[in-house]
């Protein structure tokens, strides 16, 4: 089969979405390489979305074995022990994803997130990390920023009925339609570390409560040396104490982080499948935007909570 034949095939398969983002964006997608680390429900949704969209390649990292918890919101894992025994989450997801779109190269890397070096990372255009520690997030983000090549970096996490996406596109140039014309726009992003280090006093008005609540839990897990999601209801008193301390040191009214919200987040660290679909959908859309260089990207946090039903963008950057 020659190259042109493939184009015909692609045009046919991707007909409906080419009508949304154009043939040029589709070509860029088919040349992009994406790395994901930590495959729970929201990331499984994301992987499905970009494989369907026709990304060039997708590399999966998750060396966990399948557990009851891993199965709960991840439809890429077969529930049959006869099938999943002895295989890692990444391997099993790889098998399912390959099937979704034969034109996308899906593969597994057995390395550990913390040991990935810049040589390895630079082979990707987009890196998405999930369910990892604060230190790992910061370190991978920094490594990406040290490379001469621009890599789009995302973190994504869902707990209970809430989800968070963080985006770092570094210095990003994109095209935007304004009436009939296409204009060039530029955005500068802070790193994850820079963003969470912005003094809370300097934040814009009415930042989502989820931003603060998740920082408290993140801090708690780091201080206690816990794996992400390992905090439970029995930790609540100490989580609330940490919240108080943080609010005092940051001069933030404690009411900005309702105890009920923290309670909700530590009681049930399991993902809620509808929220995974929503967060995985928004993340998929953002990654497609970043690769195609078309349309306003999200800057730089996104929150969804099924309780109030709002999907909110927060821009938390240090002012120059």
């Amino acid at each position: 089969m020659d190259g042109e034949e493939l184009t015909e095939q692609e045009t046919q398969l991707y007909d409906r979405q080419i009508r949304v983002w154009g043939a040029d964006a589709q070509r860029r997608l088919s040349k992009a390489h994406v790395l994901v680390c930590g495959i729970k429900g929201a990331v499984a949704e994301f992987c499905k979305n970009i494989v369907l969209a026709g990304i060039g390649s997708l590399t999966l990292v998750d060396n966990r074995l399948v557990t009851e918890e891993a199965l709960s919101a991840n439809f890429l894992l077969p529930p049959d022990e006869g099938v999943f025994a002895g295989k890692t989450v990444a391997e099993l997801c790889c098998d399912s994803l390959k099937d979704f779109n034969p034109m996308v190269r899906v593969s597994v890397d057995r390395g550990e997130l913390s040991s990935f070096d810049e040589e390895f990372l630079k082979t990707f255009d987009v890196i998405v990390v999930s369910c990892c520690s604060l230190a790992e997030k910061k370190s991978v983000n920094e490594k990406c920023r040290n490379l001469p090549k621009r890599i789009s970096f995302y973190t994504v996490d869902c707990r209970d009925s809430c989800g968070e996406i963080f985006v770092d596109l570094q210095h990003y140039t994109y095209a935007k339609k304004k009436l009939e014309d296409t204009v060039e726009c530029q955005l500068s992003y802070p790193s994850f570390e820079e963003a969470i280090s912005v003094p809370w006093k300097a934040h814009p008005r009415r930042v989502s409560k989820l931003f603060y609540a998740l920082r408290v839990i993140e801090k708690f897990e780091e201080a206690e040396g816990r794996n992400p999601g390992e905090t439970t209801i029995s930790d609540l008193p100490r989580v609330l104490k940490l919240k108080k301390e943080l609010c005092e040191s940051q001069s933030l009214n404690e009411a900005h982080i309702p105890n009920a919200l923290l309670e909700r987040l530590v009681t049930n660290s399991k993902e809620f499948p509808p929220v995974c679909a929503i967060i995985g959908g928004i993340l998929g859309q953002e990654v497609i935007k970043a690769i195609s260089g078309k349309g306003d990207p999200l800057k730089n946090f996104f929150y969804f909570d099924a309780v109030d039903g709002k999907g909110v963008i927060e821009d938390i950057s240090s002012k120059p």
């Binding site: 045009t11 399991k270 509808p274 929503i278 999200l298």
Partner: protein, 644 residues
């Protein structure tokens, strides 16, 4: 959130999903993952290649199979213990009656057309089952909750009518590419390959109307002594040459317009039959009738490319040849289908040649296909998001958490920082004839209009009824049903041809007709008002229904109404872009975001609009309060207290 209460509500629920397409695949997956145990799913469609980029439960090997069945099997592979019942059927079938709907706790729609949405809305109202409705276009989407007596029903608000074009714009004075597409698809394609007996405006010209009726009979017939190539060229010369010359002879038409240029095949194509330098063997390699392609024959590959006039002309002739030689059986009963490659090629070529003649820019096959097929833009991500939102609302409905029902908009550009924007549902519209039984009024010429006109244009199209029954007092004028005896059928058929004022009990000004649909369990009264004259362009039906709002058949269904010589209704993808696309997204955005209601929106809905903005503010303010007032405790509880 994931409380025991919620868990048991989900586990014990029996839900009906209507539609196993873009939203449906995502929805079925998310329902199964969320713990739903008893799911029924209806879809009449089979799988197509262009579905595979987003309907992730389907594979290439499934093309041609039932969506509902394949979706069921695919989800059972990762959630084997869920009970999923699939129906490969039209939701409008009689088996899906009110009793069928009553067995469900909630109905979830993932549909792609207005007609079916209206039908399901009525059955849900009649069965008193809550409905969660949804729709997406590109990056836009919307989820709404409809609970009888509590929130508005799906039909409480007007839906934008599809774009229609005046007949003369299509037949004589096209100014946009879409006009050429409508001409090529609904007039020329229908004339050459469709039912020869149906009326068609293709030849009617003010200047030659006297001679056209005889002349027209044979011009599109294949003569015994000519080859298909000759026939194709004769048709080409007639429609792109002769007809344009005739039109040009009417000076008045061109006073303020650019004159078209007649195009003859001899000027474009060499005299000898078109040589084939492509791979025509490929066309013969398969028995599949739908795989013949003029592009393949001519060695052309790129659907994104805009063809030259010569290329368009060659495709035009080649497509006619292929239809008459390879698909002879189809000729005479074809209707345009966007998935019929050869039909799309023919329509693209014909539209482009006409466009060239009128000085309108030509378009690629890819673009033409979108316009001709009214293709709605679709991506997987929006469908996944919308499916997640549907499940969240469905769970609230099952828990009877009425205060927290929301309609949610998925936006492309953030509004008040929000990409997903929840809004409190509207109250039922008191003037809605569907959920409030408000009488309608109809202006009609009772001395000229026949019962048939009333049934076709009002009862079927405007009121969306499938099995109507029409009464005047105690006199039964008309009825549709499977169980009627022959006498009745004959009697009703005769009634259809009667003029309204000539019935034994005449239908005149002041008459109240009662119209019912037994399947939908919907009835409404229509006050008749006689009127002599109607504006042909503005009121093409020759009658005006009011008292509520007007809608008409949506995209895709429009081709059926063509050829009646009155209005050609074909919304296009490009028009739809400007109109914010698919019906439900547009209606929602209009009510909520637009400053000025469009002319189609009546007063009651603009009142609603103000109302909704007010509600939005309330929700917003409420959030402000959260930040300063809440210390601990359940935030939702506190919110409720303050609202009391």
């Amino acid at each position: 959130m994931a409380s025991h209460h919620q868990f048991s509500a989900v586990k014990g629920a029996k839900v009906l999903m209507v539609g196993a397409g873009g939203i449906g695949c995502e929805l079925l997956k998310t329902l199964a993952l969320s713990g739903f145990q008893d799911i029924h799913i209806i879809d009449m469609d089979t799988i197509e290649v262009s579905n595979l980029n987003r309907q992730f439960l389907f594979r290439k090997s499934h093309v041609g199979l039932s969506k509902a069945k394949v979706a069921r099997d695919a989800v059972l592979r990762f959630r084997p213990h869920v009970s999923i019942t699939s129906y490969h059927a039209n939701v409008k079938n009689q088996e899906f009656n009110v009793d069928f709907f009553k067995q469900f706790n909630v109905v979830l729609n993932g549909l792609d057309n207005l007609d079916a949405r209206r039908h399901v809305n009525r059955l849900c109202l009649a069965a008193d089952v809550p409905l969660v409705e949804s729709g997406t276009t590109g990056f836009l989407g919307q989820v709404t909750v409809h609970v009888k007596g509590r929130t508005e029903c799906y039909e409480c608000q007007p839906k934008p009518a599809p774009k229609t074009y005046p007949v003369c714009t299509i037949t004589s004075t096209p100014s946009k590419f879409v006009h050429c597409i409508v001409w090529a698809k609904d007039l020329l394609f229908a004339k050459l390959f469709g039912d020869k007996n149906q009326e068609n405006d293709l030849n009617v010209r003010s200047s030659d109307s006297a001679s056209s009726s005889n002349h027209a009979e044979d011009i599109f017939e294949l003569y015994k002594d000519e080859t298909i190539e000759q026939y194709g060229r004769r048709v080409f010369d007639h429609v792109f040459g002769y007809n344009i010359e005739v039109a040009l002879s009417n000076d008045d038409t061109w006073k303020n317009r650019n004159k078209p240029r007649p195009i003859y095949s001899r000027d474009i194509l060499p005299d000898e039959p078109t040589k084939q330098n492509g791979n025509s063997d490929k066309n013969c390699a398969t028995d599949d009738q739908s795989s013949f392609s003029a592009m393949t024959s001519l060695g052309m590959k790129n659907p994104q490319e805009i063809w030259s006039l010569m290329e368009n002309s060659r495709i035009f002739i080649e497509a006619i040849k292929l239809f008459f030689t390879k698909r002879e059986k189809d000729v005479g009963n074809l209707t345009f289908d966007k998935d019929d490659q050869l039909a799309v090629e023919f329509v693209t070529a014909a539209a482009n040649i006409r466009a060239e003649s009128f000085g309108i820019p030509m378009h690629s096959l890819f673009e033409s296909k979108g316009i001709a097929g009214n293709i709605v833009h679709a991506v997987a991500t929006t469908n996944a998001i919308i499916a997640g939102l549907i499940v969240i609302e469905a769970i609230k409905v099952l828990q009877n958490d009425a205060n927290n029902y929301r309609m949610t908009y998925c936006l492309e550009h953030p509004s008040r920082k929000m990409l997903l924007m929840p809004v409190e549902p509207f109250e039922p519209n008191k003037s809605c004839y569907v959920c409030s039984e408000t009488p309608l009024s109809l202006e009609i010429n009772t001395h000229k209009a026949k019962l048939r006109d009333f049934v076709e244009k009002i009862v079927k199209v405007k009121l969306g009824m499938n099995f109507p029954l029409i009464m005047h007092g105690s006199a039964l004028l008309y009825e549709v049903g499977d169980d009627l005896d022959e006498d009745m059928v004959a009697n009703y058929a005769a009634n259809l041809e009667k003029v309204l004022s000539e019935f034994p009990s005449p239908v005149v000004s002041g008459t109240i007709l009662s119209v019912e649909d037994l399947q939908q369990e919907l009835s409404c009264s229509i006050n008749i008002k006689h009127r002599d004259e109607f504006d042909e362009e503005k009121e093409p039906d020759g009658m005006v229904l009011s008292g509520w709002h007007q809608t008409s058949l949506e995209k895709g269904d429009s081709s059926k109404t063509l050829g009646n010589g009155e209005s050609i209704s074909t919304p296009s993808a490009t028009e739809a872009d400007k109109n914010e696309d698919s019906d439900i997204v547009a209606s929602g955005r209009k009510r909520k975001l637009d400053e000025a209601p469009s002319s189609a929106v009546d007063i009651s809905s603009s009142a609603n609009e103000a109302n909704s903005l007010k509600k939005l503010e309330e929700l917003d303010d409420d959030d402000d309060d959260d930040l300063v007032m809440l210390d601990d405790g359940d935030s939702a509880m506190n919110k409720k207290k303050r609202l009391q």
